[in-house]
């Protein structure tokens, strides 16, 4: 799949075009596989990799579903790249790695033995690291790349240990062998923790998320979309594959670990996004929040499955997969929008944007749809999946364990809380970037982006609406996955009239995206009609009322900082130690008034800074070892040899 790089002018369309063709083919194949009648998993063994073992590939329902996510996102990113890539100053830093990155993600999903899985996982990490470092002259990008590389290696190490434990003493690294083997509770617990470290660090679970808001925005925007929308889903895939497929029957306490982590991830992710002024970093933080939502749903599925409630587990898992698909769609859309803003203005700081809706109407529309979808407003797709998750949470009274009985409503509360914050966050993002008046000349001179970028964004808008009003199709599409993993599925939805979805039973709850859309559309047009017809037909333009002040400037409008201030005062003081300092000069003083906001990342201060300090301390003190005399080196060798021999003697 990887296309050899060439530096000619035609390389950009050629490579993105080829990637697009391959991704569309793979997408269609995966879709056909998932929608066809249940067939046996396709297994393929390639004589590559380890000698006499080879590389095992396998396509089953779960892999097919994630292949759809990967290739849908990649195809859209390729279309977007056709236009966006033209602005790239150094395309040969991006072009060779872009198809390789996509190929790596596809291979992770297809892998059927631990060796292939880890190899493609690491391949995916390395190529995405190269893409993060595409603009390596920026100091911040270099730091992001470094932290990303460290975290990715750490995650792979955790996964390596997890697979080592799964393979056990017999050393069977094929997934088919691991699946049939029996695992003791100790191993199951350890593997779960290691997976949360490994896959969680790639997906961005708090507190392993520190690299994500640095690395995702550093890459070119279509790659950011891939990393945020697709690569985190590959990490989710890794978690699902091992925990639901390979590990066998889950324990009920394992769901508590997942739920606690996921709940923290959701809230911290969205709070960080709320106080962020960099548009792309805001989107990256929101990715962390959505990963939290997906993991909440996975934790619910674990809890229900451990208690033998297959139907509820199927509901939760379906919701998780649905949300993963949705998030890949609207997060790609939002990153494309941010990329379009970046191309048009050269800015991604919300403080320097504003009023773009007049200059970039199509981009603004697409971004708005993305914002509505991610804020989980009906009738778009974000609402459908989050509604399903709430339906799953509402099943908590049937769980027998008291711990879970108390835990699940609490997590539901957190989910509702973060959903509200998401809405606030994206009102703020859209409002300050696209509405109001331009804050800088750059924003004033913005121009609409090229057709390819717009096509990619509008395609995703259509997908947002389609999956929003026809969630039944997705739910039925996912059912082979839950059937294979949990042995249960949600009731078939396609037979229900008017495209309603009924997750459990007709009497309990149902949702109809199409009707909501029709209702919103008709009531809104009716209202508009009534207002324009009955009140006044004329469009009047007048000066806005400036509270008596002469002349409104763009500095008087809401800024991202002032919009978030109430929430920052309520939540930021605890979670980020936010401190505000107002510097008001005395009358007659010519200095400007200043408002300084200080925020600290407590996770970095509490967890990573000590680690960094310990490593620095150890490195400083081990540095002396570089300057020993020859005899001391020899003595060290000798002493360690003798010590090892002594240990061997005394041990046996």
């Amino acid at each position: 799949m990887a296309v050899a790089a060439n530096r000619s002018r035609a390389a950009t369309p050629l490579i993105y075009g080829a990637t697009l063709a391959v991704c569309v083919t793979a997408f269609l194949l995966a879709l056909r596989y998932l929608l066809s009648e249940p067939v046996a998993a396709a297994v393929l063994t390639l004589p590559l990799g380890l000698p006499w073992i080879g590389a095992h590939l396998r396509l089953d329902a779960l892999a097919a579903f994630f292949l759809i996510i990967v290739n849908l996102g990649s195809a859209m990113a390729s279309i977007y790249g056709l236009g966006y890539g033209r602005h790239e100053k150094t395309p040969h830093r991006v072009l060779p790695f872009f198809p390789a990155f996509i190929a790596g993600m596809n291979l992770v999903v297809l892998a059927d033995d631990a060796f292939t899985f880890l190899l493609s996982w690491e391949f995916m990490s390395i190529t995405s690291w190269a893409l993060v470092m595409a603009h390596h002259r920026d100091e911040g990008n270099r730091r992001a790349g470094y932290i990303y590389l460290v975290m990715a290696s750490f995650g792979t190490l955790a996964l390596l240990l997890a697979f080592g434990l799964l393979a056990g003493q017999s050393g069977n690294y094929e997934f088919s062998m691991i699946r049939t083997a029996h695992h003791t509770p100790l191993i199951v617990g350890l593997v779960l923790v290691l997976l949360l470290l490994g896959a969680g660090s790639k997906a961005g679970l708090v507190p392993l998320h520190v690299w994500l808001p640095l690395a995702h925005p550093a890459a070119p925007s279509h790659v950011s979309a891939l990393m945020s929308g697709v690569m985190t889903k590959v990490a989710v895939y890794g978690f699902i594959r091992v925990v639901f497929d390979l590990l066998g029957e889950p324990m009920w306490w394992s769901s508590i670990v997942v739920l606690v982590l996921a709940g923290g991830t959701m809230v911290l992710g969205i709070l960080s996004a709320l106080f962020e002024t960099d548009l792309k970093r805001l989107l990256a933080y929101s990715t962390i929040e959505n990963i939290g939502i997906i993991f909440v749903s996975l934790g619910l599925a674990l809890a229900f499955q451990a208690d033998g409630m297959g139907w509820a587990a199927a509901l939760a898992l379906t919701a998780a997969l649905f949300h993963a698909l949705n998030h890949s769609i609207f997060k790609s859309l939002l990153f494309f929008g941010a990329g379009a803003v970046l191309t048009a203005t050269g800015e991604r700081d919300l403080d320097k944007l504003g009023g773009l809706i007049h200059r970039m109407p199509v981009t603004s529309f697409a971004f708005l749809v993305g914002c509505v979808a991610i804020s989980a407003l009906p009738p778009l797709n974000g609402f459908a999946s989050e509604w399903l998750i709430f339906q799953a949470i509402l099943q908590s009274p049937v769980v027998p364990q008291w711990g879970l009985k108390i835990m699940l409503p609490a997590v539901g509360g957190l989910l509702a809380f973060s959903a509200a914050l998401v809405a606030a966050c994206f009102v703020r993002a859209f409002g300050t970037a696209f509405l109001g008046r331009p804050r800088t000349p750059a924003a004033e001179r913005a121009r609409e982006v090229d057709r390819y970028s717009l096509a990619a964004m509008l395609g995703l808008v259509a997908l947002c609406v389609l999956t929003g009003i026809l969630p039944g199709l997705v739910i039925d599409g996912v059912s082979p996955v839950t059937q294979a993993l949990l042995g249960a599925r949600m009731p078939a939805q396609t037979g229900i009239p008017w495209f309603s979805i009924v997750p459990i039973a007709q009497g309990r709850s149902s949702y109809n995206g199409l009707l909501v859309l029709l209702f919103i559309a008709s009531s809104a047009s009716l209202a508009a009609f009534v207002i324009h017809r009955l009140a006044s037909r004329a469009v009047r333009r007048g000066l806005p009322w400036g509270c008596g002040l002469p002349g409104l400037t763009s500095a008087m409008q809401y800024t991202p900082g002032s919009f978030a201030q109430p929430l920052r005062r309520v939540f930021g003081t605890v979670t980020f130690r936010a401190r505000e300092r107002v510097e008001m000069p005395r009358p007659g003083d010519m200095r400007p008034a200043r408002l300084t906001v200080e925020m600290r990342d407590l996770i970095w201060d509490g967890l990573y800074a000590p680690i960094v300090a310990i490593i620095g301390f150890a490195a400083d003190h081990l540095n002396r070892l570089q300057f020993l005399t020859i005899r001391r080196y020899l003595s060290l060798v000798f002493l360690s040899l003798v010590t090892l021999l002594l240990v061997l003697t005394l041990w046996s």
């Binding site: 020859i630 020899l634 060798v637 000798f638 040899l641 003798v642 021999l645 003697t649 046996s652």
Partner: protein, 220 residues
Amino acid sequence: MHGIAFDVAHLLAGSLVLISFMMLYQDRLYALLNVFALHALVLALSVAWQAFTQHAPHLYVTAAIALIFKAIIIPVALHRIIQKLGIHRDIETVVGIGLTMLVGIGLVALSMALMLRVTSAADPLAREDLTFALSVVLLGLLIMITRRNAVSQVVGFMSLENGLVLAATGAKGMPLVVEFSVAFSILIAFIVIGVFLFRIRERFDTVDDRALDDFRGERR
């Protein structure tokens, strides 16, 4: 296999260890070289005896290599180096002889305690051989770390390698290629070390490695 064959092998391997001990307390360089030549000679005899008892003619080649290179060429070459450098009157030991000997005895005891336990399933000859070989290796390392002079460190390294050859011949069926490559690598190592000795001498007017440390500005 038992009887006289075992006893002779035992005797030769044991004397190798004994000669290693002798090397530990030689404080004159010429004497050290002579003892090393004796060490290599006994090794050659031991290997030849193994070749005879195991009916493995290729071991005779190993013995010949040991005899020619280690018992003749290398000692003679080192003799000439010492002469050229004019250090034949140097006396050096870092740690006192008594302490070194005690440590050496401890090392032999350690290798016995370890090897005899670990190889309880192997045949007695291989067990004895491995035990003595490990002792010789450890004593060679001990020689290397108790000396400052680069030439005597080279000698310690060579005697360490003798221990490896002893271990290899004690185990039946080691291919000739391995022995050739080991002998060859030792020769290369010897050449490289020799060249370095002269370079060091050229620069610092001594082959005492303290000069190197002083040059690097080390604190001791």
